[in-house]
Amino acid sequence: MTEFFKTILPPVIANSPILDILVIIIKVFIVVNFAMINGMYLSYVERKVIGHMQVRLGPMRTGPHGILQPIADGIKLFFKEDIIPANADKPIFFIAPVISLTAALATLAVIPFWEDFIIADINIGILYILALSSLGAYGIILAGWASNSKYSFLGGLRSSAQVLSYEIAMGLSLVGVMLLAGSANLLDIVKAQENMPFGMYLFVQPIGFFVFFMAALAETNRAPFDLPEAESELVAGYFVEYSGMRFALFYAAEYIGMVLMSFLAAICFLGGWKGPDFWFFSKVPPVIWLLIKVYAFIFFYLWIRATLPRYRYDQLMGLGWKLFIPLTLANILITGLVKLLIET
């Protein structure tokens, strides 16, 4: 993109740092809008997919097949009254949804869409993603605390304990990928997968993939680990007291988190933007391959939600601590040993 601007802009600007900053801003703008639109339409796709799985139609009224539903929802939420519960901790109450959204959006900085399109090419990609998804826990716990409601307080505690527990399993499951690739940069990880069977780490890291996928479900508070918003017991968990646009920010953060986890899974385990290299498949642009993989993952998320019942809280914590952590530690040691044996 920089080359293109150099040809159309006067040389005074083209040779100064302003151009670089301009390019960064355009990239950031594209990525943020991509994420927001994905988050918006994911709510529609979710209702539609689950509706059809349960032999219903899903939203049908707004536009053909309800295609304008997210826009109608957005307008509705803008005009909703903003209710701040009495005795709420106001500054914290205001700041919590913004923290959630910022943590979700800022993670997109290190996601490569294809070889040349990445906002920040830094060498600690995975570490950065894990750090920011930990920050998301602040949004949850602050919202639960500030609302001054028993339901949101309990929901916030449970949700943050869940997110923290599964964060470890997720971090450890990605160590296997880093071991094989020898880098934490997502670009390098995709390049390193080229000489693997089918160009994917999925087949050499099945345990890591399994644990990562389960932990990603729990991290984004999705079914079957959607205890934080267990409708039947905690009404909506930590954001019971939020209404209107603040509520929408939490929701957007959750859906963007889902998109992000799907991106991470597609990049770390499914070979990123690389597709099969024969016939007309090799002519498909790389970003299309990446998006196909990402949306396949998202569909899987929704499928799981429509199929599996919710876990009980003690089962959830037991699964995270007693199964996933030993499993990932064993995976790390086995991967290290095998790599050592192959290379010497």
Binding site: I24, V98, T102, L105, V175, G182, G318, W321, I332
Partner: protein
């Protein structure tokens, strides 16, 4: 003249952070101008299944959450040690592998201790 390290690779991250805070805040500010403001005391009471709230909402909670938070710190720091090891594994080879086996073994002892003390069981 002293040389300063300028983390120029991280400038896009900073811009994205500013941009995402701006997105969140601007949505809320726009909502502030268009939404109705008609509140009365009953509307502002915290949700409690339709009855007036009883007692303090921020009451004492189970100590298990605290234990989980402590264990999280231990294991997360461990994970942070594993990342640089994994990235540098090509260069350190067998030596690095044996060291990491010892490291994970020490951690495993603590893990089994926590398990035996029922810190990982939720009842």
């Amino acid at each position: 003249m002293t040389e300063y390290y300028i983390p120029s690779n991280y400038l896009p991250v900073l811009i994205l952070l500013i941009f995402s805070v701006f997105t969140g805040v601007s949505v809320l500010v726009f909502g502030y101008f268009v939404r109705p403001k008609r509140s009365y005391p009953e509307k502002l009471t915290p949700y409690e299944s339709g009855i007036p709230p009883v007692g303090e909402p921020r009451y004492r909670f189970s100590v298990r959450f605290y234990i989980i938070a402590m264990l999280f710190v231990i294991f997360d720091v461990e994970a942070v040690f594993l990342y640089p090891w994994a990235v540098a594994y090509n260069k350190i080879g067998l030596y690095g592998f044996i060291e990491m086996v010892i490291f994970i073994f020490i951690l495993l002892v603590g893990y089994i201790y926590a398990w035996k003390k029922d810190a990982l069981t939720w009842e």
